[in-house]
């Protein structure tokens, strides 16, 4: 089956004072309808930039999509007209952001903001749009939706605001929802509620979701497939259970080892939390070798020579590493 969204060899560059920062390097990913793709990686690895590129919202200048293709249902988004992009945003692809506290317009009622999303894309009356926004609020689990639609964002908690954001994003039944760290700013219990809600809505509507996060726990709970990013590259991709149980790339292994565990019997001698030594290289000066090489325990001479390409090790699982055998053993 042809994928719903297909990103191929995407290159995004930012002009900075230190030179050209290669924010995304040959990023390729496919999203099929009805699936949840998790994109993981640490801060600054290009997760959010991938999302903004798909939305066509890379800030330009200083940003610039330098190469590659993004296709939604076979339609090229990079060459699409502004008019077409406006039609598509919110209607076919929508996005929810990291900070529910600041992602809603403070001067309008939340019901109004959902209705606005509907009115932008559909010919309907204000009264009908309002009715639908009340229904959406109800659907995302906000109690007393009819009353709550009249609330202003500052009268709601973070979890409720994120629910409102989800209602806005799903108001026009988009085919693809991009969730950019939707729970980072929320309490753990609220995080779980939002995950449940996303999964439930995803099952009901069949909307595909790209879930951007740095939280391996979130990935294991939600995602069908995972793409791991490092310094603007996708370094490993595959089914969630494969990635979590049989991570191949040294970086993915490191990421998984970093997740703290709850101890059953917390004793005085707790093991130190695992960490990956070193820092992400500056994006303005990536060199020609593997971007992870400076931090990698399995580094060989090959690694500093060129960036390994993403190659399949099984039907679904691809990794970019020269030394898979030594890493595995």
């Amino acid at each position: 089956m042809a994928p719903l969204l297909s990103v191929k060899n995407l290159l995004v560059e930012f002009k900075t004072r230190a030179g050209i920062a290669k924010v995304l390097n040959n990023v390729s990913l496919d999203v099929h309808s009805g699936e949840i793709l998790g994109v993981v990686g640490e801060s600054g690895c290009g997760k959010s930039m991938t999302a903004l590129s798909i939305m066509g919202l890379v800030p330009s200048p200083p940003g610039n999509v330098a190469g590659g293709t993004i296709e939604l249902n076979g339609e090229d988004l990079l060459s699409a007209s502004n008019k077409r992009l406006h039609q598509m945003r919110g209607k076919e692809i929508s996005m929810i952001f990291q900070e529910p506290m600041t992602s809603l317009n403070p001067v309008f009622k939340v019901g109004h903001q959902i209705a606005e999303a509907i009115l932008l894309h559909e010919k309907t009356t204000k009264a009908l749009a309002w009715e639908r926004s009340v229904k959406m609020l109800d659907r995302v689990g906000i109690p007393e939706a009819a009353i709550r639609a009249n609330s202003y964002p500052h009268e709601m908690s973070g979890g409720m605001r994120q629910r409102v954001m989800i209602a806005i994003a799903l108001a026009c039944n988009p085919k693809l929802l991009i969730a950019d760290e939707p729970t980072t700013a929320l309490d753990v219990t609220v995080q779980a509620q939002i995950f449940d809600l996303l999964r439930e809505l995803q099952r009901e509507t069949g909307t595909a979701i790209i879930m951007i996060t740095h939280d391996m726990g979130a990935i294991s709970e939600l995602a069908d497939r995972v793409a791991v990013m490092y310094a603007g590259h996708i370094i490993e991709t595959g089914d969630t259970k494969d990635i979590l149980s049989k991570p191949q790339h040294p970086y993915t292994r490191g990421l998984i080892a970093c997740v703290p565990h709850l101890e059953e019997n917390p004793s005085e001698e707790r093991p130190y939390l695992a960490e990956i030594p070193g820092v992400v290289p500056p994006l303005t000066d990536l060199g020609k070798g593997c971007t992870f090489a400076p931090r990698c325990d399995f580094r060989t001479d090959d690694c500093t020579g060129s960036q390994p390409s993403l190659s399949k090790i099984s039907d679904q699982h691809s990794v970019s590493c020269f030394n898979l055998n030594t890493v595995a053993s």
Binding site: M55, L57, P61, H86, Q87, M88, R89, G90, K91, S94, M95, F97, Q98, E99, T102, S103, L104, N105, P106, V107, F108, K109, E116, A117, L120, H121, P143, E144, I147, R148, N150, S151, Y152, H154, E155, M165, I168, A169
Partner: protein, 292 residues
């Protein structure tokens, strides 16, 4: 769901409604509002209660206040009733203040919004134009404009508006620069809103607080400006304004103090009213000050 939950839903209030509530607790703002309402009442209802033609000569020139009963505030150098002048002059003064203020705000917001939102080349060009207007000596430039055309209150208002918009433009631009990078603007883009909509429906409503404060102060400044122009003899000769009364009375300032003092007090009270309201609004819109 349960009625217990309903009880905890706060009663929804528009931020502006909340600001008005806060405004009512600011003594400066309320004092300003009362002052202004009195001035407006005096200028609007006054001509009906004290229906004397301000251009009509009623008594000997330069009669001091309290000397004759039909000119309680004295007469000017032509023997016209000063009280009638005060009563009628308010309308022209307020008209010029409001029109010039409106013009200032409109041009300022338009230029500032475009420059701040689009940035880049648009910003460069608009800001250079703004700076050009800013470095011109405002009074001199307004005088040139008024002398080029026939001095009517419309031309005076327009001239004041044209020389005073740069401050508002810079303020609007600064607010737009701050707000356009906030997440709810990105969120609005991500649901497919166009630039036009984002500028007027997302960014502008969120930058209104400082703009409303500045608009209030601008009206006060415009009234002072009108007084300045009239003092220099460049006001509308057919419209009786307080500034014009001061301008006409300046030659007799040593012999007849009331000719400049009384309209001066009126202008002072009006501008003070606007300034205090601006102060109160500033307190009301600024939550950090509100808590004090």
């Amino acid at each position: 769901m349960s009625s217990i939950e309903t009880q905890f839903i706060p009663k929804s209030q528009h931020p502006i409604v909340e600001a008005i509530k806060a405004f009512r607790q600011s003594w400066a703002g309320m004092l300003g509002l009362i002052l202004l309402l009195l001035v407006i009442l005096f200028s609007v209802a006054g001509p009906f209660i004290y229906a004397v033609d301000p251009f009509e000569i009623i008594w000997a020139p330069l009669t001091a206040p309290g000397v004759v009963a039909n000119a309680p505030f004295g007469t000017d150098h032509l023997g016209r009733d000063v009280l009638a002048g005060l009563v009628y002059g308010g309308q022209a003064t307020l008209f010029v203040g409001l029109t010039a203020g409106f013009l200032t705000i409109t041009i300022g917001i338009l230029v500032g919004a475009m420059a701040g939102y689009y940035g880049g080349g648009v910003d460069e060009i608009l800001m250079r134009i703004t700076e050009f207007f800013q470095v011109l000596p405002a009074l001199l430039f307004a005088m040139v404009l008024v002398t080029l055309f026939t001095p009517s209150i419309y031309v005076v208002s327009a001239a004041i508006g044209i020389v005073s918009w740069p401050t508002t433009a810079r303020l609007t631009r600064a607010e737009f620069l701050r707000i356009k990078n906030l997440e709810y603007v990105k969120a609005a883009q991500s649901i497919g809103a166009r630039d036009n909509r984002i500028i007027w429906r997302v960014v502008l409503p969120n930058s209104l607080a400082p703009l409303i404060v500045s608009a209030t102060l601008t009206i006060g400044v415009a009234i002072l400006f009108e007084a300045g122009l009239s003092y220099l003899g460049l006001g509308d000769p057919n419209a009786f304004s307080w500034g014009m009364m001061i301008g006409a009375g300046r030659e007799y300032i040593l012999d007849a103090w009331w000719l400049v003092t009384l309209p001066g007090i009126m202008i002072f009270l009006t501008v003070l009213g606007f300034s205090l309201i601006g102060d109160g609004l500033n307190d009301a819109f600024n939550p950090r000050l509100r808590e004090r």
